[in-house]
């Protein structure tokens, strides 16, 4: 897919029989889905008591992400709007149960029965109005409200999302906060536009307990991570802070110091650029001759 599928067609039309089969038989996509699912399961931070959990896989598609849940011994219920994708899942004989449904209409699950929820590359579809009756804000609200209801106390939800822009991410996050969730965004590989992955990590209930959310992989020490917060206002400010131009350094020195230079080189190195090694001359001023 050269472009974003959300702008091509609604998901139940875009993922028709041909596309669903193509998607599932692509070994690269299978690999990506497996990696993202394992990361989501890790962020879910399920208690390590080796008892299987009942998990929800929202936007399960043809069952690629659910397969990771089964391999880890869990029972899962998958929900997707594309009948073609679900038919491929049936052919593949996935172990989880499958539901044909639209998450934007609310989940329709009894309160307090789900131990956790994951979603891989699905929630951002809610930001598109595919029908005249669709209102993205209301659909996100219906989704998160019903999700909050069906999760058990203390359960988590981890969604890997591809937001189109900052506004979309904030729209999704605000809808989650309004529904009562605590949590934020974890970004893996934040400096690589290619490898960057964003996970929405949400916690249900237990507001008094401060739940720590792990840093994204390879995340720069300096960059601002979203932190767990009960206060939506603070959450919004935190998001805005990250995108505001960084304030100029307070030090009165005119030039940038060696420390800045070393940090910059490390940053470039992390992005995969070719960077000269650090030596004792690094950051030294050149002779006046130049």
């Amino acid at each position: 897919m050269a472009s974003r599928p959300e702008v091509v067609a609604p998901p139940e039309i875009f993922y028709d029989d041909a596309e669903a089969r193509k998607y599932t038989s692509s070994s690269r996509i299978v690999q990506i889905q497996a990696t993202l699912s394992e990361r989501a399961l890790e962020l879910l931070a399920l208690p390590d008591d080796s008892v299987p959990k009942l998990l929800l896989d929202i936007g399960c598609g043809s069952g690629l992400s659910g397969e990771t849940l089964s391999e880890n011994g869990h029972h899962w219920i998958g929900l997707d709007i594309s009948a073609s994708m679900l038919n491929v899942a049936v052919e593949r004989e996935v172990e989880g149960d499958l539901l044909l449904g639209d998450m934007g209409q609310g989940l329709g699950i009894r309160p307090g029965v789900i131990d956790g929820a994951i979603s891989i590359s699905a929630v951002q579809w809610l930001c598109n109005a595919d029908k005249s009756s669709h209102n993205p804000r209301l659909r996100l609200k219906a989704f998160f409200t019903s999700l909050y209801k069906c999760l058990s106390n203390g359960a988590r939800a981890v969604f890997q999302v591809y937001p189109e822009n900052i506004d979309q991410r904030e729209l999704i996050l605000n809808a989650a906060m309004h529904a009562g969730f605590a949590g934020g965004i974890v970004v893996d590989f934040p400096h690589s536009s290619k490898k960057r992955k964003e996970f929405l990590v949400l916690t249900c209930g237990q507001r008094s307990v401060n739940v720590s959310i792990s840093k994204g992989k390879n995340e720069d020490r300096e960059s601002c991570s979203d932190e767990d917060s009960e206060d939506e206002e603070k959450q919004t400010v935190c998001i805005s802070d990250r995108h505001r131009p960084r304030k100029k350094q307070k030090n009165n020195k005119s030039g940038k110091g060696k420390e800045w230079l070393l940090r910059k080189k490390e940053q470039m190195r992390r992005r995969g650029n070719v960077v000269p090694p650090n030596t004792k001359y690094t950051g030294r001023k050149r002779k006046d001759r130049f």
Binding site: A83, L98, L100, R110
Partner: protein, 122 residues
């Protein structure tokens, strides 16, 4: 669709106050063997709505479950086996789920319930 999933599902139609449990009209039921995990069953026992579960399993043709159940019965292997079989091994392959309040029928095809709502039902 397993009965564990049916016990979680409720009707989501606008205006419905209590859309649980959905009534099952089974046309085709399939059995698939699943490895039993006693700890999982005990945990699920606390979450399951037992009456809805019994009614659903009878609608699927399985009548071995007692009308009432309490946690002491979990010590019995026979009960655990029956509970496991009904909860995880019975699959509704073809049929209909009916909303208890509105009578709306959600078709089940190839084991997949179609819970999509029409625009006026959202």
């Amino acid at each position: 669709m397993r009965l564990i999933t049916h016990n979680m599902l409720s009707s989501n139609i606008k205006g419905v106050v209590n859309g649980f449990p959905l009534r099952i009209e089974a046309e085709k039921v399939v059995e698939k063997t699943v490895e039993m995990n006693g700890e999982f069953l005990k945990k699920m026992f606390e979450k399951i709505d037992w009456k809805a579960f019994v009614d659903a399993s009878r609608a699927m043709g399985y009548t071995e479950l007692p009308e009432e159940a309490d946690s002491s019965m979990l010590d019995s292997d026979e009960f655990l086996n029956r509970f496991h079989h009904a909860l995880l091994e019975l699959h509704l392959e073809e049929g209909v789920l009916v909303c208890p309040e509105t009578g709306r029928r959600f078709p089940v095809s190839k084991g997949i319930p179609n819970m999509l709502l029409h625009e006026d039902e959202v």
